[in-house]
């Protein structure tokens, strides 16, 4: 399976499983020749920020007296950045989290933090896989930071460096069975 099809199948799966919403397509549309790495930069920034915020939340909730206003402020940040990148599942968990903050429920916050952590790391793993495939595709094309799309529809009329939006629209998705083969690499191998 080509890198382009792997990428398309991964992203399609992330949409289908509720990890991403259409805001991610907004990011894809923003990528252009003047910013060929835009999506990967935003995704990387989101992952770093998200990890930092989750760490801060864990510290705040570990204290005997919880400052729920500070917890809420961090959750608000994570909710905002999740919404901006299309991280639907993380965003929705943050909405629940804020409700527990309003109720000043430490137990509720702790349980929801665990859910946020699970959802975030699931998403981060998929993003890391995405970026890895993107880079592999780039290497195939002689080191240029572009997607290895191969002949996708009217390739001559499209910018080959566009992120998977074009791949998805071209009908290059082979279906869920293909991506199962592509993503057999254990998540642990992608973690720092």
């Amino acid at each position: 399976m080509s890198a382009a099809n792997q990428l398309a199948a991964l992203i399609a799966n992330m949409f289908a499983t509720g990890l991403l919403d259409d805001q991610f397509q907004q990011l894809q549309m923003l990528q252009d020749p003047s910013a060929p790495n835009f999506v990967s930069e935003v995704v990387t920034l989101f992952c770093h920020d998200g990890e930092r915020i989750i760490g801060e939340l864990a510290k705040l909730l570990d204290k005997p007296t919880v400052d729920f206003d500070r917890v809420d402020a961090f959750v608000h940040q994570l909710k905002g950045s999740s919404a901006s990148v299309g991280a639907l599942k993380v965003k929705n968990t943050c909405i629940q989290f804020r409700e527990f903050c309003q109720q000043k429920s430490k137990d509720g916050c702790l349980k929801t933090l665990e859910t946020v952590r699970i959802n975030f790391y699931e998403l981060r793993g998929k993003f890391q896989t995405m970026l890895q495939i993107f880079q592999v595709g780039g290497d195939v094309r002689g080191g240029h930071p572009q997607l290895a799309m191969g002949p996708v529809g009217d390739a001559g009329a499209s910018d080959p460096r566009l992120f998977p939006q074009e791949v998805i629209q071209s009908g290059g998705i082979d279906g869920a069975a293909c991506w199962d083969d592509a993503y057999s690499t254990p998540l642990s191998e992608w973690r720092n």
Binding site: Q26, L30, V42, D49, H76, S84
Partner: protein
């Protein structure tokens, strides 16, 4: 305080403390050929106006350290900057009332979409050229851009 900028790239100010949101909005503005400046909180935004900087449009997040978006909007309007278009942005829908009461021209919920920003700039620049803004086709625009199409300078006196 003059803020009209006829015949050249629109000058935008982005006031946002969340890096991801900042990067995305800045990229949108660059894509739309704007000169964009970014600061991290309302106080830095107000400081720019105090220094005499002028902008055509300002995008402010609601919740920020040191000074919130609505507070900054109120201060900017109180300084006499009535022509600059101010857009309140927040993932919190409750922010709309706060921004509008402070003197913002329009509120846009996060996540902001490229077409929304594009429509705002189009209406703003057409207005700045002295021509009447063209009628916006409301059928083809989201609710956010419909709100922007009806944008006019704040009528309320800003109380400090």
């Amino acid at each position: 305080m003059a803020s009209k900028n006829q015949g050249s790239a629109p000058r935008a100010l982005v006031v946002e403390d969340i890096k991801v949101d900042c990067v995305i909005l800045m990229h949108m503005l660059h894509k739309l050929n704007c000169e964009a400046t970014v600061v991290e909180n309302g106080k830095e935004a107000v400081d720019l106006f105090v220094e005499g900087k002028t902008f055509d449009i300002v995008f402010l997040d609601k919740d920020m350290p040191l000074m919130s978006g609505p507070e900054a909007v109120a201060k900017i309007r109180a300084m006499g900057a009535t022509e600059v278009k101010i857009v309140g942005v927040s993932a919190d829908f409750g922010g709309q009332e706060a921004f509008m009461q402070a003197g913002a021209d329009v509120f846009v919920p996060k996540p902001v979409k490229l077409e929304t920003v594009a429509a705002m700039l189009e209406v703003m620049m057409l207005g700045a050229s002295g021509e009447a803004p063209r009628k916006v086709d409301h059928e083809s625009h989201s609710d956010e851009t419909k709100s922007f199409a009806k944008m006019k300078p704040p009528e309320k006196e800003i109380k400090m």
